[in-house]
């Protein structure tokens, strides 16, 4: 059996940022003021707020969308 991964989290996040007028460049604080309380699906059986999903991001300012997603991805992976 092949394990199926939940793939749509980035899509939901991108859609919500567009819906709430998150335009880059933007500070982490301002981004979270706009969409921090919005709930997104991060797994088949798990929904969290964007604030929680972004809680491990280390930097406080995103000069562009690429920087935001790099920082987010970096915050969501842990090596042994």
């Amino acid at each position: 059996m092949i394990k199926k991964a939940y793939l749509a989290t980035g899509h939901h996040l991108t859609k919500k940022m567009a819906e709430y007028d998150v335009i880059f460049p933007i500070s982490r604080e301002e981004l979270l003021n706009k969409v921090g309380k919005v709930i997104i699906k991060v797994d088949f059986d798990k929904d969290v707020s964007i604030e929680e999903y972004c809680s491990n991001i280390k930097i406080k300012y995103f000069s562009n969308k690429d920087e935001f997603f790099c920082a987010l991805n970096a915050s969501n992976i842990f090596y042994e």
Partner: protein, 307 residues
């Protein structure tokens, strides 16, 4: 117009259409100032043609050495920066209420002798941008290497930088132009056979690697030494060609560009954002937390290897 980003580019934004003309001209390989002025006559004539063929155009670009040619007597026809030849071009831009980009070898610029100078004239006849060729074609060209790549705010949201011919054979100057903020990189050239494929490859690479429009203006004709093939072209930021002039013929090409799209891409593209990510290597690794690694690990860019 662009293959774009994996992630959606969000938000509304305004764009303006910038109407760009390239005049692919056949300059005389000038030996006298009279012949230089005949070349300027020709440029002014092509500007008149453009004004009829493409009414309302915003900016016209001509090739490197369009004023003087590139023959063995180039030192005899060097120009004065404040001389009447440049003034004729300034007057023409003012007359047609349009911007122009030209290139000529000047006797002296900012205290440096023998500079291959590209310059932008605005619609009021002012020279608003100057660029000295950073990479003279070696070993043939004996002009002084340039020292900076400025960007000028042009019409319709354009941010224009200039590079010249052999500059475009080196990735650094394209990157320098983009990092300095340009959304349109103009490459004026006197590119000759047998390098017509290299001309296309480097223009495409410059556009793609730097997510910029590229306007590449070449000459046509044969002088004492070389054949200049033409193939002037205007390219999208994904490296695709919007329009291209034919090989070997004097020609005008025109494209409408949307400069604000480039600015927006650099803010909203989550992939292929090379002007940002080139020195943010591995920014998605947890150890780099969004900031990434710089270029300092490249031998090519270490100061000790550049002496």
């Amino acid at each position: 117009m662009n293959i774009g980003s994996t992630h959606v580019i969000s938000g509304k934004f305004e764009v303006e259409a910038l109407s760009v003309i390239v005049a692919q001209v056949p300059p005389i390989s000038a030996q006298t100032m009279d012949e230089v002025n005949k070349n300027i006559d020709q440029i002014c004539d092509w500007m008149d043609k453009a004004s009829f063929g493409f009414p309302g155009f915003d900016i016209l670009v001509t090739a490197e050495f369009a004023l003087q040619g590139c023959g063995p007597f180039w030192k005899d026809v060097m120009l004065d920066y404040d001389g009447k030849e440049f003034q004729r071009l300034r007057d023409k831009c003012k007359e047609l209420n349009t911007w122009g980009i030209f290139c000529g070898v000047v006797k002296e610029y900012k205290g440096r002798k023998g500079c291959n100078l590209a310059f932008t004239i605005d619609n009021l006849g002012n020279i608003v941008q100057e660029y000295v060729k950073m990479n003279p074609w070696l070993p043939a060209e004996q002009t002084c290497p340039g020292w900076k790549c400025p960007v000028v705010n042009g019409p319709k949201g354009s941010k224009i930088s200039l590079i010249i011919c052999a500059d475009g054979d080196y990735p650094e100057i394209w990157r320098e132009a983009a990092v300095n903020g340009s959304n349109i990189i103009v490459r004026v050239a006197h590119y000759m056979a047998p390098w017509d494929k290299a001309w296309e490859i480097t223009n495409k690479a410059g556009a793609y690697f730097n997510q910029s429009y590229v306007v590449a203006a070449n000459c046509v004709g044969v002088d004492e030494s070389f054949s200049y093939f033409g193939d002037s072209m205007i390219l999208n930021p994904d490296g695709t060609i919007i329009t291209q002039a034919p090989k070997g013929l004097p020609w005008l090409i025109k494209a409408d560009l949307y400069p604000q799209i480039i600015d927006k891409m650099r803010e909203e593209q989550a992939t292929s954002n090379y002007v940002w990510s080139y020195n943010k290597r591995g920014a998605s690794h947890p150890g780099f937390g969004g900031t990434g690694a710089s270029l300092s690990e490249y031998n090519a860019y270490r100061e000790e290897n550049n002496k």
